[in-house]
């Protein structure tokens, strides 16, 4: 039996196609979501004492777990947070504390997977871009010059050295709606003028020297196999900094690519160090043919890599789950 772990409310086509392949292979599967634990008044418990450990849900039948996500605090826990009555001063603290409690609880829920094959291990899916950069560098991959700082002075020096710089979140990339606007945590170019307008110290932020691109590479990794895609984002000024600033009229060309062996070997080591058996890796290939590692998204979207390159990743994922789920 396969267990599919996801946020029920998140719609995702490539995920649906994996299910199609599982059905086609007559595989048995069930679902699990944070909603089962934090919504709808369903009761559950995890018990631990000197002699036993037991869970109200039986996990022993699951031989393989596909971990695609679990909980979105904002949409799933609103009922909990809505009922909190306290002053503004304490609200942020309270929400953060509750978030931490939830996260520790989740760790215990995931502990139930310990005897199953996990694609990937939920423990390894927490994004930490800076640590990953350090690790990549230690393995011998090239990385962009990076800095975390709250200092206008240091940022100016950094900018002076690298001409063009970007900022991006250390944690996940995402955006959400606020009234008529979107609050975004994403990659953005920083102009000199913007730096001039900053106060002497500001919220600690992550900056990187802009790496000149020939092409961007999005590489899907699954059990030591690489499925690389080249994105010609350079042809379009709209997508020069981050190809995710889509141009829908004229989508960036995306084609299959072959990585040098040396890069594959280093990336394999990196993925093993991070205990990740799957993920999407972003790289840049510079005009002088250097490969620069940017980041890894353990549960990122793979649909557009699969479709553009005709890789049938949905089937590959289903196959992997079935092989381990028997």
């Amino acid at each position: 039996m396969i267990l599919i772990c996801k946020k029920y409310k998140e719609k995702n086509e490539s995920y649906e196609e994996v299910i199609d392949w599982l059905l086609y292979k007559n595989a048995l599967f069930e679902f699990l979501s944070g909603e089962d634990y934090y919504e709808d008044g369903k009761d559950w418990s995890l018990e631990l004492n000197n002699t036993i450990e037991k869970s109200s849900r039986d996990f022993t039948k699951y031989k393989s777990i596909w971990f695609q996500g679990f909980l979105k605090h904002k949409s799933h826990l609103s009922s909990i947070f809505d009922t909190i009555e306290c002053t503004n001063n304490n609200l942020a603290e309270l929400r953060w504390r509750l978030g931490q409690e939830i996260s520790k609880t989740n760790t215990q829920i995931f502990h139930n997977f310990k005897n199953a094959y996990q694609l990937p291990n939920p423990k390894s899916t927490k994004v930490d871009k800076f640590s990953n950069l350090r690790l990549a560098k230690d393995i011998g991959l090239e990385i962009p010059p990076s800095i975390i700082t709250n200092s206008k002075k240091d940022l100016k020096t950094f900018f002076g050295k690298h001409d063009e710089i970007i900022t991006k979140p250390l944690y996940e990339t995402l955006s959400f709606k606020e009234k008529n606007n979107f609050i975004s945590f994403k990659t953005d170019k920083i102009e000199g003028l913007e730096i001039d307008n900053l106060p002497d110290t500001f919220f600690p932020s992550f900056f990187q020297g802009y790496v000149e691109k020939d092409i961007e590479l999005r590489v899907f990794y699954l059990e030591e196999k690489f499925y690389p895609m080249a994105i010609f984002s350079q042809l379009d000024p709209k997508t020069k900094t981050d190809f995710r600033n889509y141009n829908e009229q004229n989508p960036n060309r995306k084609v299959p690519y072959i990585l040098p062996n040396e890069i594959e070997e280093k990336l394999t080591i990196l993925m093993k160090e991070l205990d990740l058996n799957t993920g999407s890796i972003d790289l840049i290939k510079t005009p002088d043919k250097r490969y620069v590692f940017l980041e890894i998204n353990p549960t990122g979207q793979f649909g557009f890599t699969s479709k553009a390159c005709n890789y049938y990743l949905e089937d590959e994922i289903a196959k992997t789950l079935v092989e381990h789920g028997e």
């Binding site: 196609e17 199609d20 392949w21 059905l23 086609y24 080249a230 010609f232 042809l235 004229n250 989508p251 060309r253 995306k254 084609v255 299959p256 690519y257 072959i258 043919k289 479709k307 553009a308 390159c309 005709n310 890789y311 049938y312 949905e314 089937d315």
Partner: protein, 358 residues
Amino acid sequence: MSKKSFKLFANCIVVKGASLATICDLHRGKIYSIPLPLAEFLEKTKNGDTLEDVKEFSLEDQETVTEYLQYLEQNELGFWTDEPEKFPDLNLQWKSPEHINNAIIEIEKLDDDDLRKITTALANLLCKFVEIRFYETADLEKLAFFAENCRSSVIRSITVFLPLTSDINTEEIENLSIKYPRIVLFILHSVQEKGTSFKTDNPKIKLVSRTIDHRNHCGIIDPKLFSIKIPVFTESLNHNSCLNKKLSVDIDGNIKNCPSMLKSFGNLKTHSIEEVVKSNDFQKVWGINKEKIDTCKDCEYRHVCTDCRAYVENPDDQFSKPLKCGYNPYTNKWEEWSTNPLKQKAIKFYSFEEFLKN
């Protein structure tokens, strides 16, 4: 300077016909006609030294080829690279996670028992797309019954064809469109210009004046119906572009590849749909790819076009060209198929004279 190759992007694929070729841009859904010698040149030079290769043409042709390459580069169909081996061709595999992909049901005379059998079979066969056809009367209760029984299937979309008759309950159609989100489109056909006061803003309801009162309205081959996409292209390499993984139940309950085809593999009252679909006999037409079809095999549009095995130029030959195609890949001209003197025999055979007059 190191050598540079001009390469088409992997999802822009050259298809050669008898006297012209195409570049099928499967990413942006566009198709470009190019001369055959250019197609051959592009294939030859993609991993070579393009500037050297160009020199093999006569001086006059060199200019033309260079202009073409500029055009292809400007339109982002190709690019220059000194590492051509890093950009492999697109893998042309095709597969799909279903036993039947799409089904056409002529539902008018089928009873509840028949419909239950059909919906169970569609669920078991993992069918994704369903087309329901009413020709003369629209029985919305029957439609609702069908949609209700599809709930436990993996059907992604149901399209319904129904005639706009004077007694039709348009409010009920609106209700059904909300209650069953899997019904993505209601096509109300045979709409008389003056005869209707039915107006709707519902994007799922479309009115067409064309009369669709018989299955022989199908089988049209037209550039408007080209589908320039990776799955269509790759499927067409080894499979039929219309009938592969298709199932039909005709108005009398006969299980067929297509309602317009004569051959029945049994009636659903006496035969199991699942068993029929599994049989080699039923799947035989699935493998009739374009390379096997007369004329189509020489056509530069063959991998983005549809097909029709129900109405063909020579009804005695199942590999003959679709009757309702007016394209000639030897002269590269589109002509009206219905007035083509060579097609009159087949038009008579299928008794198309009547409907062509309309």
